[in-house]
Amino acid sequence: MAGRFRESMLWVHTWVGVVLGGFLFFIFWMGTLAVFDQEIDRWMMPMTRLSPAQAHYSADEAWRQTWGAASKDWQIYPPTERTPVAIVEVAREEIRREGLLPGQAESNAIKEFHYIDPSTGAQLPDPGTLGGQGFFFPLHWNLLITTNDAGIWIVGAAGMAMLLLIVSGVFVHRQIFANFFTLRAHKKSGRVLLDLHNVLGVLGLPFHFVITFSGLAIWFYLYFPAAWQMAYGGSHSAFYEETRARFRRPAIEAPGEIASLDAMIAKAEETWGAGKAEFVHVWHPADANAFVEIYRSYATDIPLDPRVIYFDGATGEILHYDFVRPIAKVQRFIAGLHFIRFRHWTLRWIYFVLGLTGCALIATGALFWLESRRKLHAGGSSPSIRVVEGLTIGAVTGVVLATAAFLIANRVLPLHVENRARIEVWAFFLVWAATFLHAWLRPSRAWSEQCWAIAVAGATAFVLNWITTGDHLVRTVSEANWPVAGVDCALLTGSAVAIWTALALGRSPAGRRIDREPHESAARGA
């Protein structure tokens, strides 16, 4: 009975892994990049590489400057340590808020974005890029598919599959504790891959499980909507307002004015006691029923609980200030563990490293499968292996290469090019598609060739940043410009790892196997 159970678990682990491994690698890779999304934004938006603002910053000034009183909706993100510019989002037409994602269902197409230097008040040019927060981050959680939240559902299904892989992996793995530290590096590559997969899986288990579960827990109301739909008669906004301690009131179509936003921010920060305002949203500007929503910064603690305070737009008096209840707070804590909006640089770096171990876990699993299949077919290549291998190459090295292409495109394209942001996205997807094609055309050489390509691309992105902005590593380090220095270091490290991998591949049994294939050897001889 136990043996049969373990066999079925092995079957699930194998086939879910083979079918979804590449996709899971993509989600883990994008999530890992999203850990440093705002730092990637500084790298990709050189005009925003300002030193964290010490100067007093005025929301009222931004309100006047961007004609807030003449807008239908006005939001500002004051400068923070990680994003040292003020970002204002203005809608000139009425925004229809529908769907389940508060504040995200609306189209960005009708919004204006203003980037303001907090120390001078000057407007910065449009960055012309989606950057880390606008591209890698959404790819991670909705794949840029927003219709009917389909992207979130797809990622959710993959997340559930990842949990199933973790659980079945635990059942499959014999002797978890006896092999806790075992990595037999001198053995055959299949053994090494399995040992690596086991070690990364077992030792990384707490992180991988929590990060996957918390990812699902963020969208609990989407994946299992029955409870709130019944309890609140299908009204998502009623559910949201009550569980998150929020407040809404409609416009009454009578003219009104907004009192000092700075005074409201000061009052909010005084009410919280600790923590600064991170987001200010003016609802129905120019309406007599206008109200102002102020979020507290997430920096100080793990739960994603902004302790929102609502002010009457005209008088600046507090309208509503409630707290979320304990279970909701637990949910916000789980979500906060996933989002890492808190300020803790050690944890941020460890998340990044452990995210990479997640990628390595998935990749070693896929490689082990390919390796053992090859053995089954005695060195020959069956068409099914070729397909899976091609897909795996494109999904692993391909997506890394596409990421580098995205960064290179960002540094090559001049700022004034029309549709600049869109061209960058095209560069990403075209290069990615090309890596699949390459993997299909040259299956035996694609791994090492793509590793070399990654090495070159990473170094190229580093050099291009130096040439186009003058921010080379010595300068960024000496000026304590850590976001740019960090991305540059990651690029160089990535290049070095890619070179090491390419060299190791040349020596590995997989490489020797290639030598056995006659036409390849002939090609080498020529």
């Binding site: 530290f181 590096a185 990384g204 793990i302 808190f342 803790h344 944890l347 452990l354």
Partner: protein, 125 residues
Amino acid sequence: MRDLALFLVGFAATYAGFVLLALAMSRHWRGVLGREGAPATPRSGAALALRAMAVALLGGCLWLVVHADGPSFGATLWVVLLTLGALATVATLTWRPAWVRPLARMLHGARTDVPQARELDEHGA
């Protein structure tokens, strides 16, 4: 600076803790001391001491990070430090077992100081 120091101390504690735990296992004990003709396993008393020290180190690390960073940040940091320390241990045992050899030899040496007869007695008992 303080964050970095906390990380280094915490990482050192989990790393050392897991190295001790691994040494208490005969496979890694042999892997580290193998060529010196050492016994296949650490003496049961030594293994117990190794495990106790490891638990003290891992527990001490939890206390330290919770004390320094508060319960929520501290507990999170501890969990991820465990993974990092264990991964570092695996890498050390695989590629640089020599780093751990002095430590194992010390434990081994302490063992051989004990007169042979008494040891036999212990085993006989």
